[in-house]
């Protein structure tokens, strides 16, 4: 279980997260929605140790993550899939995937995971010897997700995975993420808005200006017309 409580994060003087609390139960998929520039990515980065929290706590199965270095956090199976991808441009697709399994706990099962990833994204098999810098926007997105899975996550923080994907692929990606959840991985998924995601998720958080403005079971949220209008773009 991931338990974030009273988290505050700053960029210099600017406070991006305000006293933020959030919980992801084991095997749950939690969706976090919010307009852009309101701190969603910041939250994920703080959880995964890429940014330092100025106060608050992040507990993963009762271990405090706040203050740990990112490599220790990765070691524990808390994995981030970045919105802006951060692939290794000069490495081939295959090398990028291998780098995903850099941490010790992922190494032993590298071969199996790789097969699993290539099964999810067959296109990556075709592209396997291409340097990542030459991939198209959508291809790079697939690789970023694939690499994240290679890290053997127990908890996966996914940042806007659908940007730039073709409609068909987008659908597939959400299905696969659901599959991963079903294999026992807890997921915190960030999107601007998406009815599909909302329907898949167990729990929903809405965020504005670094504050959580709504939390609740998805069903409750979907009943709320106001939320539907502003956050899901429907209704």
């Amino acid at each position: 279980m991931l338990d974030v409580s009273n988290l505050n994060t700053f960029y210099g003087q600017f406070q991006a997260l305000h006293d933020l609390s959030l919980t992801v139960e084991d095997g749950q998929m939690v969706a976090l929605f919010g307009p852009n520039g309101h701190g969603k990515s910041t939250l994920l980065k703080t959880i995964c140790g890429l940014i330092e929290a100025s106060s608050g706590s992040i507990k993963w199965n009762n271990t405090e993550l706040a203050g740990l270095s990112s490599e220790k956090i990765v070691q524990m199976g808390v994995i981030y899939i970045a919105e802006d991808r951060h692939l290794f441009p000069e490495m081939t697709v295959m090398q990028n995937l291998k780098m995903g399994a850099f941490n010790l706990s992922a190494r032993s099962s590298e071969a199996e995971t790789l097969a699993y990833v290539l099964d999810i994204f067959p296109k990556l098999k075709i592209l396997r010897n291409k340097p990542a810098s030459t991939l198209s926007g959508g291809e790079a997105r697939m690789l970023a997700i694939g690499r994240g899975i290679m890290s053997k996550p127990k908890f996966l923080a996914i940042d806007e995975p659908s940007i730039g994907l073709s409609p068909k692929l987008r659908e597939e990606v959400f299905l696969k993420i659901n599959e991963i959840r079903q294999s026992g991985v807890s997921i915190l998924l960030v999107e601007q808005s998406s009815e599909e995601v909302a329907e898949m998720a167990d729990y929903l958080y809405l965020m504005e200006d670094g504050h959580i403005v709504f939390k609740g079971h998805t069903n409750d949220a979907l009943k709320d017309e106001n939320i539907k209008k502003i956050f899901l773009g429907t209704g």
Binding site: G49, L50, A82, E90, M91, M99, F102, N103
Partner: protein
């Protein structure tokens, strides 16, 4: 030109190439991984040789022990540089520019520290192995052969490390996207320390290997630094294999030009070669095309 002459020229070209490879490889590594143009590299080259001089000449150790003793010292010096100079700068604006200049500062400091400790007079190291052997009409010194062996070992070891080990891949990952590297669980600081440590060892060992041929003086590293720069660029920044090729290419060019037109023309011809290479391949022989 007779065949024998040609072969002799090629042999000296290859010898020069060996030398250049030994000098340039660490420089290439450090740029490849940390995108730092390590301008104090030449000074570590010099310091390696001076440290070896202390152990080999003053204290009369044999070369095996010299390497065993000097390498850790160099490793620590490299790490200290990373930890106390480069790392604080990394967090600030203008990293590229500042680190370049800090490198120059460190170089000045180290060079003149060497002059203060060891004096300005040129020193020499005994050959690693004395003597020569003759094959047909051609004579090779054991020193030459040692250098060859060392170059082969270093090139192979580096290739293996960078391509085949996970730590090696991590160096590449950090070079290409530091945030990405953190996302997959690589510790940047460890990698940077490792890189500076290793490349300082490479610089210093090149100094030790080459000192019997070129001698040691406080400012002796600069000439080599500049040549290393040219070689590394021609080969493609960050590519170890590219460095290997361009070192031999430029070595053989140097021997040929020296023979045909005189040594005075070597630098102009190098310049021309570099120009041609970069005009045809703007990122050097094997440089990657990704923009840095």
């Amino acid at each position: 030109m007779s065949l024998n002459d040609l072969i002799e020229i090629l042999i000296s070209g290859i010898t020069i190439g060996l030398v250049y490879f030994l000098i340039a490889v660490g420089f290439s590594l450090i740029y490849g991984v940390s995108r730092v143009l390590h301008l104090s590299y030449g000074s570590f080259f010099t310091w390696g040789a001076y440290l070896a001089w202390i152990f080999a000449v003053k204290l009369n150790f044999n070369y095996f022990w010299v390497f065993v003793l000097v390498c850790p010292i160099l490793y620590i010096m490299g790490m200290a540089l990373e930890r106390f100079v480069v790392r604080p700068l990394r967090k600030r604006d203008n990293f590229d520019f500042n680190v370049l200049l800090a490198g120059l500062g460190v170089a000045l400091f180290l060079d003149y520290a060497a002059q203060a400790f060891f004096g300005a007079r040129t020193k020499s190291l005994p050959s690693l192995l004395d003597g020569t052997i003759q094959i047909h009409d051609f004579v090779f010194s054991y020193q030459q052969l040692t250098m060859l062996a060392a170059a082969v070992v270093i090139a192979f070891a580096l290739w293996f490390f960078l391509e085949k080990t996970r730590q090696g891949l991590a160096l590449g990952a950090v070079a290409q996207d530091p945030v990405g590297a953190r996302i997959v669980g690589v510790s940047l600081n460890k990698v940077y320390l490792l890189t500076f440590g290793i490349s300082t060892i490479l610089a210093g060992s090149a100094g030790i290997l080459l000192a019997p041929r070129f001698f040691i003086s406080p400012l002796g590293g600069w000439k080599f630094l500049i040549k290393a720069l040219i070689i590394v660029v021609a080969g493609g920044l960050g590519s170890i294999r590219g460095t290997l090729y361009s070192a031999f290419l430029l070595g053989i060019l140097e021997a040929l030009v020296g023979w045909l037109f005189g040594l005075l023309w070597v630098m102009p011809f190098w310049f021309l070669a570099l120009l041609l290479i970069l005009l045809i391949k703007p990122h050097g022989l094997l440089g990657s095309t990704a923009d840095h």
